[in-house]
Amino acid sequence: MTELQAEQAAAVPQAEAGLQRSRYFDVLIALAAFAVLAILPMLTGSKALLDFVIRCSAFGLFATSLNLLVGYTGLVSFGHGMFFGLGAYGFGLIMQRTGVPVPVAFVATLVITTIIAAVIGAICVRLKEIYFAFVTLAFQMLIHSTILSWVSLTGGDQGLRGGIPRPAFFGIDLSNHVHLYIASCALLVIGLLLMRQIAQSPFGYTLRMIRDNANRASFVGIDVWRAKLTIFVLAALFASTGGIIMALFVSGAYPEFAYWTISGEGIFINMLGGVTTFLGPMVGTVLLLILNDTVTRLTEYYGIVLGIVILFFAIGLRKGLMDFVVEWYTQRRNGPGE
């Protein structure tokens, strides 16, 4: 647990009522969100807006899953992007080479991700703090190097070329833009719901204990290593799903998906949106993508603009947007007296 998180968490006491809020409420919100997203194509003819939501789904799942590690467990992973890349490559390769139905490829990709994440995680979660960050980064770069070198399988730096075939299944045709959009939204909503469940389950509180004080957690009878490994693998699964959406969106997979910059962007999204609320990373994703899309239209000096925005959050607010909003809201509600 970093000081920052402690400080922020301490400032936002959770009321008992919040603790009790049932999962049906979450499901209700999720259904409502999905309904809104689903009727969007009928309201607007803008394909770009649908594209935007698809990308939000891919990065949102990725960033939120990273927050399960960073925000909930205190595991700062600099290599989470490898699972994003793994999802994209795994899915793309299975579809290109075997021609199995999409759902089969989807499940197979997740199985592969589980195996690889379990092996890498078993090695990584032994290390603490910044060293965990380093070793995950090293693994990420190792995987990236392997993708570049293993040309016969991955196409090297050119990526998986020739498009990813997407045969229709159950009447869903992912090569149709609207179908892909609806499918991405569904994956996003289901993914968020599942992650929310993880975060609010007893296991979620086990993670919080580990983040706050791993040593104490082990004296409460928690097998810290096992819990860390479990969440590492679970988070990898959602990141992989994000990668699959991205692969479907660009109809290919590229080594950049497994490069450290993807992990860096994930961290950045988390910091932008805030790590102490569940939806912080989702807000961060939307913010970053809007920022990216708008600024690259207006200037080619994108770096300066983005840099200044980062400085504003890091030095000005010193926290993510959602953290800031929640804090401001609680202060207002409680009044200056408390």
Partner: protein
């Protein structure tokens, strides 16, 4: 899957001439890396900051040196400008920005550095343009390479090695023996105590960051005659020197030296045996070191 050329590797290991040449070049690569990495490790050791913008300082050093060289034609002045310019930049960067995020989350520090990587790259692109540049080798160094103990060494690299070794010795002795060095080490271990003694820790931090920036800038300046200059040139250098410091142990100057030479050797011999997977080898080595000894070969165990 891994393209191997073990024959070339064993062939080289069997031939003394090849062994000497590749060892020499591994050493040279290592010393160039060390020059960049030592600033990184110094800043981490004292400030506990992983200076992600270190590569940007390297880049500025190179551009400053090139500009000074173009205007003056003096190599010495170019080096001085590269080093002094980045030292000032480092001081400003630390005092105005980094000092605001000490004690904050390590991620916040990284973000500030990352912001400046983006900003600095664009600033260089604005000032010097997007195209790559070359400073050119001063006439004094345009001479045939020397043969030292069977290894080929260009005279310019002798200079680089000299500077790198001097930096290692001066930093090592300076930190261990001088009063300032002791204060810096004390600040590293117990900042509260140092400020309680009436020493301005802000000054020390600013100074160390300036020193680290200067070392990166000097490395950039020294590299300018042999490497092309582009916005973003600091990036690959940052990654390699980062690997070096992690392997050697963040904060350890000796570790950076040994780590740099090890990476140099991996590059040198790896290019013979695994020509397409040299980079992968470095990451593999980094994983192995981290897993077996998280604090690096020469890092202090953290309780």
């Amino acid at each position: 899957m891994l393209p191997l050329d073990l024959d070339a590797l064993t062939g080289c290991l069997a031939s003394s001439a090849c062994l000497v040449t590749q060892t020499t070049s591994g050493f040279i690569i290592g010393m160039l890396l060390f020059l960049v990495a030592v600033g990184l490790t110094l800043i981490f050791g004292v400030l506990k900051v992983v200076n992600f913008s270190h590569g940007a300082f390297y880049m500025f050093g190179a551009y400053f040196a090139m500009t000074a060289y173009q205007f003056s034609g003096s190599f010495a002045l170019a080096m001085l400008c590269g080093a002094a310019g980045t030292a000032i930049l480092g001081l400003i960067f630390e005092r105005v920005f980094m000092s605001r995020v000490y004690g904050a989350d390590v991620l916040m520090q990284l973000l500030v550095c990352y912001a400046f990587v983006l900003i600095f790259d664009d600033v260089v692109r604005m000032i010097w343009g997007p195209e790559f540049k070359s400073m050119g080798m001063p006439a004094a160094f345009q001479v045939a390479p020397l043969f030292i103990a069977g290894g080929v060494v260009p005279p310019y690299y002798l200079l680089l090695i000299g500077v790198a070794l001097a930096a290692a010795v001066i930093l090592g002795l300076g930190l261990a023996r001088t009063r300032i060095g002791k204060v810096i080490r004390a600040a590293a271990h117990n900042p509260g105590m140092v400020s309680a003694l009436g020493i301005n820790t802000g000054l020390i931090y600013g100074g160390v960051f300036a020193l680290g920036g200067m070392l990166a800038g000097l490395a950039g300046a020294l590299a300018a005659p042999v490497r092309s200059l582009t916005p973003g040139m600091g990036f690959s250098v940052l990654i390699e020197s980062f690997i070096v410091t992690v392997i050697g142990g963040m904060g350890s100057i000796l570790g950076a030296l040994i780590g740099a030479i090890l990476i140099g050797m991996i590059r040198s011999f790896g290019s013979l045996g695994f020509p397409l997977f040299t980079e992968g080898l470095m990451y593999l080595f980094m994983v192995i070191v981290l897993v077996s000894r998280p604090t690096g070969l020469f890092g202090k165990e953290v309780a």
